[in-house]
């Protein structure tokens, strides 16, 4: 057998085309007679449209058509949960708003022109008047008595209100506890910000009787389902194709109203219509994420063991539910997974999704876990302080070490390296002398802090896990097909879609290993709804865990077919055959060998030679799903920061991530995912926040206002791997896409607070503002004037 490819850092097969400018992203596709679309968008946060006049738009040179909601008359997009009305209120997101507007940027009309410049001229000529209502812009205003309602049916602007867990007797535990702590933690609204904005090109193919839509989505099959529903077409009359995609990070795993409108316009005009979102729209009118508030109370015994956690989670989901996940995605995720890596005996949680007059939210890399991990990690930091324990030691005493572990949240955690990753991470920082440097710096009046975060993340959600959320459409399985052609080359088709995660390489590694093929003999086909019956796309770090398992199964089935065929042709028992580097040979002695090419020739070109009962062709399809709770990747992040007096700048001096995603199919790819994720986590901790003014006008309309960190802000990161293989996936791999983003905010915040320890001030919210840090340091130097400060070495 050849050397296995899985586990090897083989070069990425995506690279050559992307490096030579031959990548093909949506906006790179040009077709004859193509038109260009832009959207007239609402300029008020809340109101009723009193008139929408497009007559001047239609006069603009180059404008071909302009449609309002009334003109297109499409069904809206509604995402549902099977929960009683007291718990969940569905919201319909119209493709174009026809009456009520609920956030600045909501699309009201689609303008179609001969070129993008004319389309932009066109939208400027639209005349819209409104009855303006007072907007609801934050959690407090939304929940206040008598607050204006964003959706009439949602009392208190609450779209979801559930209490998933409430351990009996939990109040008594608090009363009797040696130590109780409280944490109030808020995280800013963020933009996932794939560098490629959203976009779609739709055209009617009369011959296929199909609307063909190229779009950058993480969920092509769901876009197809919704598009067909909104347009009143059979589902087979829509084909969604995803070309190269310039990032997604979650916000492209929901169905956007704009892509539906583009499809509708193309259908009407019977001409290709392309829409490419500009950056302003991407920052203000696309899907946002992350704005949450955690109120936590926790009880500990005198030795620092956590006894109980009482949590209230409020998520500001903006104006509408996203399809298919709904506004439930964030509060339900936080509620069910909050205990995280810790042994928690008693748990009570309330999770709410509230609606406000801001752009709607969608899942973003990590989904609630960056936030709940930050809040829970603050709980342990605070308890450590109260009890005089070392922050690492208190974690060590509480992390789950016996697997499988059944949590208070009714989830079974599969084996991980929670304790080992923590120990290793601390060891690295100690061995590199960071604790000594911290003590030294304190002597010089500098402010160094060391912070950690420990977490696990559920990946490989199967149908069962999503069904527990009570979603009306339930994600979970995936499908794969493998097809060998007459030359012995293999095409693998998957329902998942890569947008930077190198699936073309990693999926091929899996299939090639299973069949004993050379990597160059395997090609991945993805992101085309006509190529595989259904798929759930790429999100929740599921592609390799679920999609990769389906690929492996399909490849295995094909391998069996090849062996059956070879056994019959060689007239030997099936059991005596093995796959070996593009051949089937006898298990004992290599003397009788038949190559895949020979087998493929028989299967396709010489069917006359096919043994009786063996079908022509060499294809196999398989699905993968899991009935378990999923599989848990884990990591510990350790950070050293220095706070600068005068500017309040937080400089990251060292970042260590010890991660365990089970079997790493391609370690380079895993590291890339970690690094990129950590960069986004640091961005959330220190830099990025979407803000609105008092009228609900977005204040971040470009990269001048929305501060995305650059190479100057993101440090080099040390990544160490542990490997606890998953027991439920076919490859032993767990998900690797989101972990970096989950661990970073908590670790950075803890490090900042460690540096602030002498000041007595603790920060709980992100993004951490330089002003806050500066103020804390100023107060401290004032309070300690003339006193030399010494930090306790940990």
């Amino acid at each position: 057998m050849g050397t296995p490819l899985v586990g090897t850092a083989v070069p990425r097969r995506e690279d050559p085309r992307l490096l030579t400018g031959q990548g093909r992203f949506v906006d790179d596709i040009q077709v004859p007679h193509m038109l260009h679309a832009q959207f007239v968008r609402a300029s008020v946060a809340s109101g009723r449209i009193t008139s929408l006049d497009l007559s001047a738009v239609r006069e603009v040179p180059g404008v071909v058509a302009a449609f309002t909601a009334q003109d297109l008359d499409l069904k809206g997009i509604t995402a549902g949960l099977h929960r009683p009305v007291e718990e969940y209120v569905p919201t319909e997101m119209p493709v174009l708003a026809g009456d009520r507007v609920r956030f600045v940027g909501e699309p009201l009309a689609i303008v179609i022109a001969e070129n993008p410049y004319a389309a932009e001229d066109g939208i400027e000529a639209a005349k819209v008047t409104y009855d303006v209502f007072p907007p609801v812009l934050d959690e407090e205003a939304a929940l206040a008595d008598g607050a204006p309602l964003v959706h009439e049916r949602a009392a208190h602007n609450t779209l979801l209100d559930v209490s998933l867990f409430a351990t009996e007797g939990i109040d008594e535990i608090f009363t009797g506890a040696a130590c109780t702590v409280r944490v109030e933690s808020r995280t800013g609204r963020q933009n996932a910000l794939p560098l490629e904005t959203r976009g779609a090109l739709a055209q009617w193919d009369a011959r296929e009787e199909q609307l063909v839509v190229h779009t950058c989505t993480q969920i092509p099959h769901q876009v197809r389902t919704v598009m067909a529903g909104c347009l009143g077409l059979d589902e087979r009359a829509v084909r969604v194709i995803v070309p190269d995609m310039g990032g997604g990070f979650g916000i492209k795993c929901v169905v956007g109203r704009e892509e539906i409108a583009v499809g509708a316009a193309a259908l009407r005009l019977r001409r290709p219509v392309k829409w490419i979102e500009d950056r302003k729209d991407a920052l203000t009118a696309s899907f946002l994420a992350r704005e949450q508030h955690y109120s936590l109370r926790a009880a500990f015994d005198a030795d620092g063991h956590i006894l109980a956690l009482d949590a209230d989670v409020v998520c500001d989901m903006g104006a509408y539910s996203c399809y298919p996940f709904t506004v439930g995605i964030e509060p339900l995720m936080a509620s069910s997974e909050m205990p995280g890596v810790y042994r928690l005996p008693a748990y009570r949680v309330r999770g709410r999704a509230i609606t406000t007059n801001k752009a709607p939210t969608a899942p973003y890399r990590g989904v609630s876990r960056p936030q709940y991990v930050m809040a829970v990690e603050r709980v342990f930091e605070r308890a450590a302080r109260e009890l005089g324990l070392d922050p690492v030691e208190i974690r060590r005493r509480n992390v789950i070490t016996d697997f499988p572990y059944r949590g208070v949240n009714n989830i079974t955690y599969d084996p991980g390296s929670y304790r080992e990753s923590l120990d290793l991470c601390e060891q690295v920082l100690r061995n590199e002398g960071w604790y000594d440097r911290q003590a030294e710096a304190a002597g010089q009046g500098r402010h160094l802090g060391i912070g950690y975060s420990c977490f696990s993340e559920r990946t490989g959600y199967g149908t069962a896990a999503f069904a527990q959320r009570k979603m009306k459409v339930v994600p979970g399985f995936d499908l794969a097909e493998v097809r060998m052609d007459t030359t012995g080359a293999l095409t693998v088709t998957t329902g998942t879609v890569s947008h930077g995660q190198s699936h073309e390489t990693t999926m091929a590694q899996i299939a090639a290993d299973e069949l004993g093929l050379d990597l160059h003999k395997v090609k991945l086909h993805q992101g085309d709804t006509d190529r595989v019956a259904y798929g759930w796309g790429t999100f929740a770090s599921r592609s390799i865990a679920i999609g990769g398992s389906a690929v492996r199964r399909a490849a295995r089935l094909l391998g069996e077919r090849l062996r059956v065929l070879a056994a019959r042709l060689l007239d030997v028992p099936y059991e005596d055959t093995v796959l070996d580097q593009g051949n089937v040979r006898l298990r004992e002695g290599p003397q009788r060998v038949v190559s895949f090419v020979e087998l493929a020739e028989v299967a396709y070109l010489r069917a006359d030679l096919l043994p009786v009962g063996i079908e022509p062709g060499l294809t196999a399809t398989a699905s993968f799903d899991t009935l378990s709770d999923g599989t848990f990747s884990n990591a510990t992040h350790g950070v050293v920061v220095e706070l600068h007096e005068g500017t309040g700048q937080v400089e990251i001096l060292k970042y260590v991530c010890v991660e365990d995603c089970g079997v790493a199919i391609n370690p380079t790819v895993v590291e890339g995912q970690c690094r990129g994720g950590i960069a986004q986590g640091i961005a959330g901790a220190l830099y990025e926040q979407v803000t609105y003014d008092a009228q609900g006008d977005p204040e971040c309309t470009g990269f001048m206002e929305y501060k995305v960190p650059t190479a100057a802000e993101i440090p080099d990161i040390t990544i160490l791997h542990l490997e606890t293989p998953s027991l439920i996936t076919e490859t032993g791999a767990k998900g690797a896409g989101e972990g970096g983003t989950i661990g970073a905010p908590a670790a950075v915040l803890n490090a900042v607070n460690d540096a602030l320890r002498p000041t007595g001030i603790e920060l709980e919210n992100t993004p951490i503002r330089p002003e806050q840090v500066q103020l804390a340091l100023e107060q401290a130097s004032y309070a300690h004037q003339g006193h030399e400060q010494h930090k306790e070495p940990a």
Partner: protein, 174 residues
């Protein structure tokens, strides 16, 4: 008002070849390269000069092609990502990006390549910190930048070796 009447004939020299295009004077260089000349390697991610995805070389220096009108490029040498390497053979900088996993989705990549190409031409002896500083003028959302800095640094070192016959890293602080 009618844009059709304002069209101009512009001659551009792109990747060493002279090309004539008829265009609206407000057409940016980026749009012209992409849509008139079919050089879609140059990407747009902000169209306001911040992200650097649209970086090309104009007379050898990195420039934001979203901030230039095509007419402003007349008489100047424009180079795009399509000029790096030969045919399907990757150039050394491109190969270095592949070797160091300096790209994931690849959307920012042409901009970084052209930025680095222009930067290294002017600063062949740049050290890691200078490279990081230069690279910080473009945005990448996927990689966390470290591997991009690695890629540029290694390419610079390899070029120095070729030029001087010295081993990579010789004379560099470790």
């Amino acid at each position: 008002m009618n844009s059709a009447t304002d069209q101009q004939l512009v001659t551009l020299t792109v990747n060493g070849t002279s090309r004539e295009v008829v265009l609206d004077p407000r057409r940016t260089l980026a749009d012209t390269l992409r849509h008139e000349l079919g050089l879609t390697g140059t990407h747009l991610a902000c169209e306001h000069g911040i992200c650097g995805a649209c970086t090309v070389l104009v007379d050898g220096r990195p420039a934001r092609s979203c901030l230039m009108f095509a007419v402003q490029a007349e008489g100047r040498q424009v180079r795009t990502v399509e000029s790096l390497g030969e045919g399907d053979q990757l150039g050394d900088l491109q190969q270095s990006f592949a070797d160091h996993h300096g790209l994931q989705c690849g959307f920012c990549t042409p901009g970084f390549l052209m930025l680095a190409e222009g930067f290294l031409a002017q600063n062949p002896d740049a050290d890691r910190e200078e490279i990081r500083e230069a690279v910080s003028s473009n945005l990448c959302r996927c990689t966390g930048y470290q591997t991009i800095v690695d890629a540029v640094e290694h390419c610079a070192a390899a070029r120095r070796t070729q030029r001087t016959g010295r081993l990579p890293y010789e004379g560099n602080a470790q």
